[in-house]
């Protein structure tokens, strides 16, 4: 049995006060899959929420603003890799072809329709997008994963507080649609505000349980959660943001075109949580050139050590937080064979064997081994002195 590690007490937490709207991006960059088929030619004026491309799995790429489709451009993604993106110039008209509609009772949807929408939204259950097809058979319980590993990422907390009605209604509807007795909403036991608010509201939703989870790292990963809660294939885990997107689509029959981004960290005086268009370029909300000289900026999670390099980063669904910390000045020393990395791996891998394909594929890249390493070796990145 692995000993779960609580890292949050080692970090200074900076909580943003409220959500700041930044929905006026001049250009929007929509990441393009290799398999995607573009449905329009450059120069075409597109309305908001138009399906601009479709991939092999019939997952549509949605245009989050109304504007002119300019063409394809390579831009850096969350892994600092240059990927192809579709560029849209915003005309700020927010024109949409769909009328704003609202469905009062989400439970009235049929199972087939919900499954189709889940597929269209590319919703993953149990970390596998193909598993949702099995949602209609032998399902015991749905777990809504509202956990977050980065101590300074408040997206889920704000989502839970600001969209509680839609989230609870969607979970309750899923229970009815899929004939489930109950679902569990997983929240960290440190989110006191969310807990107190939801305790009041959950009385109206008897088929939803609030489950408080210990603040250990990296509990939000399905592989770790599965072990922690002893889940099997009959238990489905769906991320909170996916529930929100599904609920939004069911309720309003529209796609979510905005996302939350937390900018925080131990050195940030005024932490922010932005709501912005999916596909916004980072430079439109933050100039990192000066910050980078004094501090390190990490994408999503400090422990993953995925450093922000470019000002041009595209904020898509994979970018949830930017964590700003002091420059890393720790010296890397040769491995001392202490085995702390081995003992701390949440899924029981041997981090010193990450060069083996089999081990590397299973690795969560959570960075816990590197964080625990007393020699400061970036084990999960296979950087530093040879092990």
């Amino acid at each position: 049995m692995n000993k779960y590690i609580n890292i949050s007490k080692n970090f200074i937490k900076k909580r943003p006060k409220d959500i700041t709207l930044k929905l006026d991006s001049e250009f929007i960059y929509i990441p393009l899959d290799e398999s995607s088929k573009i449905l329009f030619n450059p120069g075409k004026v597109l309305k908001k929420e138009t399906i601009i491309a479709m991939n092999n799995d019939n997952v549509p790429l949605i245009n989050p603003v109304s504007g002119v489709f300019l063409g394809i451009k390579e831009m850096p993604n969350f892994e600092n890799k240059n990927i192809k993106t579709l560029v849209i110039k915003n005309n700020y008209k927010e024109e949409t072809s769909k009328k704003i509609a609202s469905k009062r009772n989400l439970s009235k949807y049929s199972k087939e329709v919900v499954l189709l929408i889940m597929q269209r939204l590319n919703i993953k259950t149990n970390n596998d997008k193909s598993l949702f097809r099995e949602i209609d058979r032998n399902i015991r319980k749905i777990y809504i994963n509202a956990l977050c590993d980065e101590v300074n990422n408040y997206n889920n907390e704000f989502r839970l507080l600001h969209n509680k009605d839609l989230i609870l209604e969607t979970i309750s509807a899923l229970n009815t649609i899929f004939d489930l007795e109950e679902s569990e909403l997983l929240i960290k036991d440190t989110c006191t505000e969310v807990i107190s608010v939801y305790k009041e509201y959950l009385g109206s939703f008897p088929n939803i349980n609030l489950r408080l989870i210990k603040d250990v790292y990296p509990i939000s990963r399905y592989e770790v959660l599965q072990r922690y809660l002893k889940l099997d294939s009959k238990d489905l885990v769906i991320d909170l943001e996916d529930i929100y997107r599904l609920g939004y689509a069911l309720k309003r029959q529209r796609f979510v075109t905005e996302k939350l981004l937390t900018i925080s960290g131990p050195v940030v005086i005024d932490p922010q949580i932005y709501e912005l268009k999916i596909g916004t370029k980072l430079s439109e909300i933050l100039d990192i050139k000066e910050i980078k000289e004094k501090y390190d900026i990490w994408i999503n999670n400090y422990l993953e050590q995925n450093k922000l390099i470019s000002n041009e980063l595209i904020i898509d669904n994979n970018v949830n937080a930017l964590i700003i910390t002091d420059k890393n000045r720790n010296l890397v020393k040769p491995c001392n064979n202490c085995g702390i990395c081995y003992n701390s791996c949440p899924i029981g891998l041997n981090p010193k064997k990450l060069d083996q394909k089999e081990v590397n594929e299973k690795c969560l890249k959570c960075g816990l081994c590197s964080y625990m390493c007393p020699c400061n070796i970036l084990i999960h990145k296979k950087e530093g002195i040879s092990l």
């Binding site: 072990r227 131990p266 910390t325 020393k333 085995g339 007393p374």
Partner: protein, 299 residues
């Protein structure tokens, strides 16, 4: 990174834990002797002086090393394991060791420890060298001045409380047990080695007792064996790190050490550790050969 633990924390924790052993050694090998007018006041503090000298020499070696290699002095010294090696070495040699021999062996093992290609347990190497040199010069003994002059016969309680004959810091099983209970709470302590080694010793002792040889029962309560099992065999940098590696390493040392202890009391366990430390890498490789660890995780 905002580290959870650093090399210097590990070394610092270990050294603090060793201090009770040093103080007890000052009492057992110094204060008691001073009361009987067998030694001078300065001699009372000899274990402490050896302990501090070893740490100072470790820093000096690091200083020279960083000058030769032209690397950051502070970075090297702050994260060095040499002070721990030095401190432990001062505890595994007898208090009556010749000071020059102590300094010579200390410098030798510290230098060898800095050589990356030598993966042996250098502390044990130092102890074996001490034994060999002592035997050559005819001064191989762990008795202190008092023990040399009187006929001592210790009962079980004396042994447990630390009045037994042994190396400077390796006489009190009671203090060693407390240290063990503190160390098992630390994630850097390789407790599997200690537990498997101790378990093997216990089983072999019981087998021996069942076969009627009661006289060998004292091996289990030999403070040297306890010291080596608790602090030397699981030495952080010179032992396997995988679970299977650690357990098998402990078992092999236990088996080999027990057999050797029957013939070479006090040194058997150290010889076993030295021999096994040659194959540390292979103990870790056992993980690949045996069924996957934590098989439930593979599901």
């Amino acid at each position: 990174m905002n580290k959870r633990i650093d090399n210097k924390d590990i070394v610092k924790n270990y050294i603090f834990l060793l201090i009770p052993l040093v103080l007890f050694s000052c009492y057992k090998n110094g204060y008691i002797l001073f009361n009987k007018n067998l030694v001078t006041l300065l001699y009372v503090f000899k274990p402490l002086i050896m302990f501090v000298t070893a740490i100072i020499f470790a820093f000096l070696i690091e200083l020279i090393y960083s000058n030769i290699k032209k690397v950051s002095i502070m970075g090297t010294i702050a994260d060095s394991y040499l002070p721990l090696y030095g401190a432990l070495f001062s505890l595994i040699v007898p208090v009556n060791i010749n000071p020059l021999l102590f300094i010579f062996l200390l410098i030798l093992i510290l230098i060898i420890s800095k050589l990356k290609f030598i993966k042996l347990n250098t502390l044990v190497l130092g102890r074996i060298l001490f034994v060999i040199i002592s035997l050559i010069i005819g001064k191989y003994t762990y008795l202190n001045v008092y023990e040399e002059n009187v006929l001592v016969s210790y009962d079980l309680w004396d042994i447990i409380l630390g009045k037994s004959v042994g190396a400077s810091g390796a006489t009190s099983i009671f203090i060693l047990t407390i240290i063990f209970f503190v160390l098992i709470t630390k994630n850097y302590y390789k407790k599997e080695i200690t537990l498997s080694l101790g378990g093997t010793f216990l089983i072999l002792e019981l087998i021996l007792v069942l076969f009627g040889n009661m006289s060998k029962l004292n091996i289990l309560v030999d403070s040297e064996v306890v010291f080596a099992s608790l602090l030397i065999a699981p030495l952080l940098t010179r032992s396997p790190y995988t679970k299977i590696g650690k357990i098998s390493y402990g078992i092999v040392i236990g088996l080999l050490g027990f057999i050797l202890c029957l013939f070479i009391p006090k040194e058997g366990i150290y010889i076993a550790i030295l021999l096994c430390s040659i194959f540390i890498k292979y103990f870790d490789l056992l993980e690949d050969k045996l069924p996957k660890r934590r098989a439930k995780n593979e599901s």
